[in-house]
């Protein structure tokens, strides 16, 4: 066999344009596929900015008429006289979410520790599934249940709250009022149930990534389960736990349907938590379809802009804090 018999494959220089139709078709398909993917990713990222810009733009009429501080601090919401102010709705939104956090955070922490540390293996999975299914229930069903089932039951408890908590000097004022079953406190309780699965599943997930060497060293030193949870696991996962709490807060602030059903929808601010109120999302859900004038619609969208500013800040912190733990994990590994 002589060297001339060897057939060398024809090597095509990279600089030359490929002549085969198949290859050039693949190159343009590759190009198109890549650009489509880039475009989709751009849409995903752009949606956030577009949301803020579009909502800000549509509230321009109201911003122009009422200004920023004027709108924020005015309690006058009257479609008849076309005067609009956001103050009662902002306060109600904050208060109902605050109630939800006060009730929901400890319970979520308890659920997360129970599932991650305490529960025996056979009970872990069904309980975790049950808690997560709470998140699958649509908010309108929470609202329906809250109005038709929970509120009448709660109305029977309210006289007791009136007697016991209402008698405390100072904060007693918060717990006085007719036992209607609906109101700020009811909305806060329903919100607490709704955000429980979100907060507890994040806490549980981050508890499970705590290195077992840390946990086992603590147990080997004779620490109790509670001491391990409070002194070892919580400090290690603190940023993500706070992030999870912020995520729950973001949900509570923006929750619409369930709150609309149970808060009672009163535009007048009241000192008592047992009295009805109206949050920004609930007033939007209630009044948007019947808003007739341009200024009315624009003022409602302006309320939406305030909500988006607050929840965006909360969600930004949440994602940042949850990611911080991920980075720490990456650095340790």
């Amino acid at each position: 066999m002589s060297g001339s018999d060897v057939v060398l494959p024809k090597i095509q220089p990279l600089s030359e344009k490929p002549k085969s139709a198949g290859i050039s078709w693949h190159l343009s398909a590759d190009f198109l596929f890549h650009k489509t993917a880039v475009f989709a990713a751009f849409l995903v990222a752009g949606a956030l900015f577009a949301t803020v810009i579009a909502i800000a733009y549509d509230s321009r009429t109201s911003i122009h008429v009422f200004g920023i501080w004027g709108f924020l601090k005015s309690s006058d919401w009257n479609p008849v006289t076309q005067t609009f102010g956001a103050f009662p709705f902002i306060i109600s939104t904050l208060i109902s979410s605050a109630i939800a956090m006060v009730l929901g955070v400890p319970v979520s922490f308890g659920v997360a520790v129970f599932i991650a540390e305490i529960a025996p293996a056979w009970i872990k999975k069904p309980v975790a599934t049950a808690i997560e299914l709470l998140a699958a229930i649509p908010s309108i069903v929470y609202g329906l249940w809250g109005l038709v089932v929970f509120a009448p039951v709660f109305a029977k408890i309210e006289p007791w709250i009136n007697d016991k908590l209402g008698a405390i000097p100072g904060i007693g004022l918060l717990f006085q009022g007719p036992p209607m079953g609906i109101g700020m406190l009811t909305a806060g309780i329903v919100l607490a149930i709704m955000i429980l699965p979100y907060m507890s599943s994040i806490m549980r997930d981050v508890f499970l990534i705590v290195p077992s060497s840390l946990r086992e060293s603590a147990y080997a030193m004779g620490a109790t389960t509670w001491e391990v949870a409070w002194n070892i696991i919580l400090p290690y996962t603190r940023s993500a736990v706070v992030g999870g709490i912020f995520l729950g807060l973001g949900r509570a602030l923006g929750e619409t349907m369930a709150v609309t059903f149970v808060i009672g929808n009163s535009n007048v601010l009241s000192a008592s938590l047992l009295m009805p109120g109206a949050t920004i999302p609930s007033v939007l859900a209630n009044e948007f379809a019947e808003a007739t004038t341009k200024l009315y619609v624009s003022s409602l969208i302006y309320l939406g802009l305030i909500l988006i500013a607050v929840t965006l800040a909360v969600r930004f912190c949440a994602v940042l804090l949850i990611r911080r733990l991920g980075r720490k994990e990456g650095a340790a590994a």
């Binding site: 489509t36 995903v44 299914l133 649509p138 249940w145 379809a289």
Partner: protein, 283 residues
């Protein structure tokens, strides 16, 4: 002295365990309370006419939700048509082109923020960009709003699932001369399909009961309509309007609709969980 410290630590431990167990019980209790209520009221409102007649006018004793069921199915189908391609391609870009680069990480960050966006904000956004310029409510704008709510979920699961696919599979395909788009569509998508499907199911479950964005985009229609450019009847808004109405039959229908919605969503969530259990880290 030693003994008292021991007793204190032990009692704190036992008390905390009891409290945490109680917290879990509270959560599970509310789940069953809500499910039981929906089952009880929902079954009481069940009626064959729900599926074959349209929503009745106020003041009659008739039953019917056909237009709402059909409308909701159309809304969901159109949002899937919009959401799946965008979500899938966006996730694919992150996993296959962006990798861990700064741009990709910024997109992931924004996507995570969008993941927890209150649905009412998305409703207002779509109102501003579609309903207001068009001058009237339309089913299409409702589908766009639902798609925007669903896309971040699909993006995230697609990204995560594609990242799980081992690089040896990609390298083998590239070594055989397959161009990038063939590697992605025929190899990595295929390897990650169970996970991607799970993301789509979770996304669908999330948007099924969504009501708030629909109030600003589709609103409602008393009549049967298949026109994407007009207001369309849909289950969530019907539940909202009927539940707060003074008519007994409307309230019953609201519960029946809520029962069917919850059945659908829970089935989707459980199927998605089951699917996720099937996802093995592809080699």
């Amino acid at each position: 002295m030693m003994m008292s410290v021991y007793v204190r630590r032990r009692s704190v431990d036992v008390t905390s365990k009891i409290l945490m167990g109680a917290a879990t019980l509270v959560g599970v209790f509310f789940l069953f309370w809500i499910l039981w209520t929906t089952l009880r009221f929902g079954l009481a409102g069940m009626h064959w006419d729900l599926f074959i007649k349209d929503t009745p006018p106020p003041g009659t004793n008739a039953f019917g939700l056909r237009n709402a069921f059909v409308g909701s199915l159309i809304l969901l189908a159109v949002s899937l048509l919009i959401g799946i391609p965008v979500g899938l391609m966006g996730g694919t870009w992150l996993a296959e082109y962006g990798f861990r680069g700064p741009t990709a990480n910024a997109v992931r960050f924004i996507n995570d923020i969008m993941l927890s966006a209150p649905s009412i904000e998305i409703g207002l956004f779509v109102y501003a960009i579609m309903v207001a310029p068009m001058g009237h409510f339309s089913a299409l704008s409702g589908s766009v709003a639902l798609a925007i709510l669903m896309i971040p979920i699909i993006v995230r699961t697609t990204d995560e699932m594609l990242s799980l696919v081992g690089s040896d599979m990609r390298e083998a395909a590239i070594a055989l001369g397959a161009p990038a788009w063939v590697v992605i569509t025929k190899v990595t998508w295929k390897a990650a399909r169970a996970g991607i499907l799970t993301g789509i199911l979770i996304g669908l479950a999330r948007i099924t009961g969504e009501t708030a964005p629909l109030l600003f985009t589709v609103l409602n229609n008393q009549f049967f309509s298949g026109n994407l450019f007009h207001a369309m009847a849909n289950v969530p808004v019907v539940i909202f309007q009927f539940a707060l109405s003074p008519y007994a039959n409307w309230q019953q229908m609201a519960w029946a609709a809520a029962f069917i919605t919850i059945l659908f969503v829970l089935a989707l969530s459980l199927i998605a969980r089951w699917f996720l259990g099937k996802v093995q880290v592809p080699k």
